[in-house]
Symmetry: D3
Subunit: 251 residues, 6 copies
Amino acid sequence: MVLSELTWPEVSALDAASTVVLIPTGAVEQHGPHLPLGTDTYLATAAAQEIAAACPDIALVTPCLWMGASLHHMPFAGTVSASFEGYAEALRRAVTSLADHGFIKFMAVNGHGGNCDSNRIVFRQLRHERPTLQIAAANYFDFIEPGLLDSTMEGALKSIRHACEAETSLMMHKHPSLVKVEKLRNDGLAAYPDIPGFVSNFDEITEQGSYGFATLASPHKGEAFWASIIQNGAQAVRDFSAGFAYLGIDQ
Amino acid sequence: MVLSELTWPEVSALDAASTVVLIPTGAVEQHGPHLPLGTDTYLATAAAQEIAAACPDIALVTPCLWMGASLHHMPFAGTVSASFEGYAEALRRAVTSLADHGFIKFMAVNGHGGNCDSNRIVFRQLRHERPTLQIAAANYFDFIEPGLLDSTMEGALKSIRHACEAETSLMMHKHPSLVKVEKLRNDGLAAYPDIPGFVSNFDEITEQGSYGFATLASPHKGEAFWASIIQNGAQAVRDFSAGFAYLGIDQ
Amino acid sequence: MVLSELTWPEVSALDAASTVVLIPTGAVEQHGPHLPLGTDTYLATAAAQEIAAACPDIALVTPCLWMGASLHHMPFAGTVSASFEGYAEALRRAVTSLADHGFIKFMAVNGHGGNCDSNRIVFRQLRHERPTLQIAAANYFDFIEPGLLDSTMEGALKSIRHACEAETSLMMHKHPSLVKVEKLRNDGLAAYPDIPGFVSNFDEITEQGSYGFATLASPHKGEAFWASIIQNGAQAVRDFSAGFAYLGIDQ
Amino acid sequence: MVLSELTWPEVSALDAASTVVLIPTGAVEQHGPHLPLGTDTYLATAAAQEIAAACPDIALVTPCLWMGASLHHMPFAGTVSASFEGYAEALRRAVTSLADHGFIKFMAVNGHGGNCDSNRIVFRQLRHERPTLQIAAANYFDFIEPGLLDSTMEGALKSIRHACEAETSLMMHKHPSLVKVEKLRNDGLAAYPDIPGFVSNFDEITEQGSYGFATLASPHKGEAFWASIIQNGAQAVRDFSAGFAYLGIDQ
Amino acid sequence: MVLSELTWPEVSALDAASTVVLIPTGAVEQHGPHLPLGTDTYLATAAAQEIAAACPDIALVTPCLWMGASLHHMPFAGTVSASFEGYAEALRRAVTSLADHGFIKFMAVNGHGGNCDSNRIVFRQLRHERPTLQIAAANYFDFIEPGLLDSTMEGALKSIRHACEAETSLMMHKHPSLVKVEKLRNDGLAAYPDIPGFVSNFDEITEQGSYGFATLASPHKGEAFWASIIQNGAQAVRDFSAGFAYLGIDQ
Amino acid sequence: MVLSELTWPEVSALDAASTVVLIPTGAVEQHGPHLPLGTDTYLATAAAQEIAAACPDIALVTPCLWMGASLHHMPFAGTVSASFEGYAEALRRAVTSLADHGFIKFMAVNGHGGNCDSNRIVFRQLRHERPTLQIAAANYFDFIEPGLLDSTMEGALKSIRHACEAETSLMMHKHPSLVKVEKLRNDGLAAYPDIPGFVSNFDEITEQGSYGFATLASPHKGEAFWASIIQNGAQAVRDFSAGFAYLGIDQ
């Protein structure tokens, strides 16, 4: 169910206690010369909507919070970055507005690495203030089957980076017309010697904005990743809706 | 041109000085039993994108700021409201991020009455801080030809209200599948005696959330309004891009 | 009743439920070469106090919030502008402090166009947070009888602008010693072609700070406007104090 | 010179470098059963304006920041309290707005003890941000000749407290019609044993809101205090305008 | 009792209603060429901990809020200054976090003059919001026996200033290895003529950062001051824990 | 070098360009029944100071930001939690204050998992605002040799958790007197089925506050971890001071 398509009586008629509200969070930021600025927003939105479609009656998708935390990409044209405060306030209001209407289960479906910290901070604050809410800070790429990235990616980096082999593959599968295949390039720089936790802007650690081995991307890889995302994402939503128990780790 | 579809080198290649950045601003809020929660977002986004399409090479559309100032609609389920601070910060960052990339001409294409105050306040602050920017706080419904609302609307209210004859007509034209025609109803209450400037929540001034004579809406009326919006909006963008002069009112 | 003149036991003895708290909101900002910086503050304060005097026992006037939203006048010397945040916080506290003492009916008596947006935003937030409060965002010039401006003003602009024919007339009536009649001039510029919603600073749309046909002002016109303001303002306060009902617009 | 009475060209013609801007800061808060809520505002405003009148051409008085830090008086009806943030922002803008017009010398003429901390904090921030500004956080009662309070006051407390012998005397001198002499009473409680720095609300340390020996107040005492305030305040303004030098304390 | 050394079950077992929570507040700011940057933090922390040790079972010391309000010392290297907002939020959270665990009696043990205003403002806000809390804004130097400073100090200044005779003596007693006795010097400038309340940065009123007659400092003086601080501080904590009554000042 | 022990002329004499400023960040929060509330603060401070001692002349340690982001531990007595805003402002000011004195290289030495998100967000903002600064968000536990945790820990969890086998071992080594060995227990709960990114409070995922196999802790393990922390931390500081180059990942 897509929130913006419903009328208020339809929302009012939902079983708020078992509904999982999915909040896609993305960005409009540079993704190298081959992917569009909206890449994270396109993928997070599509993932959330397809996961919801696979879970009839129990998932409600809000519009995407498309203005993400992208200060580290601002050296590249077209990037629009929220401040932390603005992003946090928007995410907070998305949750509290719907919590005021009775919903209690919320899951971010994030598509932008730069939002991870912010999502966790906001959700921890919300859980402190409203402990009866249940909130998960998921990323769509977390839903990819363990091992699948490792077995499928051919480049030296086996995880999702930025406009990389994996993300480019996903866009080739979902939005092929927005991928400039003639611009695909491998990119990425690393500090030597490495300083643990060093915080870099993207004009310092890339030549043209992407990080990873985009030349190895393919629609076929993207299709495999996507199927895993939707299948495991939908399972997580069903589990979340049905409820869970805490068991001792020592057992 | 749609910002989220472009790569950063494409944005970098634009003539920033003559480009008009269009920022749709909407809402996800109750629109009575017959229109979807996303009505303002759908219409503002479509207006901005069609206006831009009618002005090749000189207009750049950002994604819609869909979380508007909707506190007065919160009594109805599904409404998501930004705080003023969060909305203002998002709008501010949409402008300043792109101004940091060299753009100087910005126009809101607003679709939600509740955003009008906020848009003006934010833009006045921005013009004070960055006087070289040129910024317009337009509403899509301002582009409707003077007189057309009056001559076309049959109900007693001759201006755009909320889920009213005009707005419902526009949705019937642009998104007929999202209009519940079987739910159309006239609605709206007024305080008697009238207190000038009285601030009401929508559960106080409506029975089911809409304000106006929605039963009189028709796709044909919507089509007429829409044509006017796109034609006059595009003319405004062309004028804005080309530049203007200040002349004395006394002359 | 003037709040600052009363002792706390006197305030405590009022019938808080039927008392209308009037909050004048003004500005200290340039008003051209002929009117003093405090024009909006003088007129809003006088209007609120005379309206209250005409409504014995049911109206309580606070001091004027004289630091308004005047960023667009800052290019002219002497202007003092609040930030939105500071103005909003002051207005909010004026209401909540007195609401904490039991008052429920509040009416801004605004004298500065730049405050209109802010007043509405603050009052909408307050009505959301404290729905039992009743709050009106009135402007003193709204109380002028419909038609009177049109029939009395001789210049091409028939509404209140800035240091214009009407405002200058009001000051000639109420504070003649503060009007520099030898400096009266017509002023005002307009962009051509017009960009809907364009946000201008006052050094861009005036030559010396006023907007309108001040040379046509007269104390006699001011007296007529003032009488209408006090009469209709007092009626609004009496109505507000007595209460009102919501009736359907469709009836 | 009173800022609100001037036009912008008059302000523009001042010698900004030698002008001392006086900013009265007051409160609207309970002052016991005998003094009006506006006491601090009346006295601070009158002091600033009379001091300025005694220093022709070198002092410019803004309107009074009448909403002070009065949270500790909120238990008594009619008190209006700013938040620290709102008060600080207003004071900050009063200074920075006029600093943007070229003024560099600012002096608060404070009339409310609860504002002292806030005034110092705001002014220290401003001096850090704009070190060329010269700013003094004066209280009108600081201008009373050393020794005069001690020699004149008859009660056990020899300093200005709240609606006390001294403050009531000042109001008897300046605003006799606003003093309820039939309500004069001595009031004030103290914790025993004393806890250094204990922060009290005024309903805890008074019976009816005043602190001190108001029954000993007289217009004659008030007149003596007032003469000292204006004389020494005017001298401070003349010194401030003329400039000063730093000399070693060890010499 | 030192909070950071306890486990949560130990804190949980305390009698929260009679425990006095001591919050040392200090600074890391320049203290002339002879005292270390951490002087205020060292003394406030030691005072709070020794006072608590003298009051077994009834006092709980938090770590020191070491980043104080030191903007006026920023011209000297090494100074770290909080903003007011950051300092206030930290102090507020120290109190509210422990109040959420049931504690009701709080006392700042401040060691930095620049924090006095902030401590009072924050505590007044807290007492307004949570009137059942009991909060004292004490400074460790307030505990020095009345008369002892006057009888012991040999320089012309008989009160605690900055890196002065008294503060240097205290450091000679408590942290002799951190005092550079070869760098002791008298320092301090004063404006002439004096402007009441003038706000100065420390590079304006000192030559090398200290204010007072440090050459007259001695460990013996410091020992006398310190004994008084701990004795009177401990008495204040015992009084605070035991409770107090309000008595009329007029009796 | 310990900042609080130095005088301002000593700081002024440092080679600011090559000095690495170490900022320990910790917490005062529950650590189960066996570890003290200050555990994270003790370990972060000791790590930063010993690392600095191992790097003479090139490392400067500030006091510890001991009030961390601990909302998720608030259900347990004694926990003191900063808000995000307060923590962020403190960390920001620690950096900007010293950057204003000329330092450019900063490294957090964090000891509390809950601070990781905040440290990264603040540092990204700072690098955007002041791109010439070099800032690393390190955790002391990141300095443990890769493989050492895995080879040394005997419990099923091979990474640092909360009051776990590793953290308890470190405290046994550094602060044995503060460890209650008779209270050691294994603790920890996990949701089943797992919801990716689910945000939990610690009263939900533990029985008594610790997470991991604390019964397996030993001083010997702690000594091994600590040696690795200091050795690798010191190497990182030397590398940071000396400088680094960006090399392509594709080479």
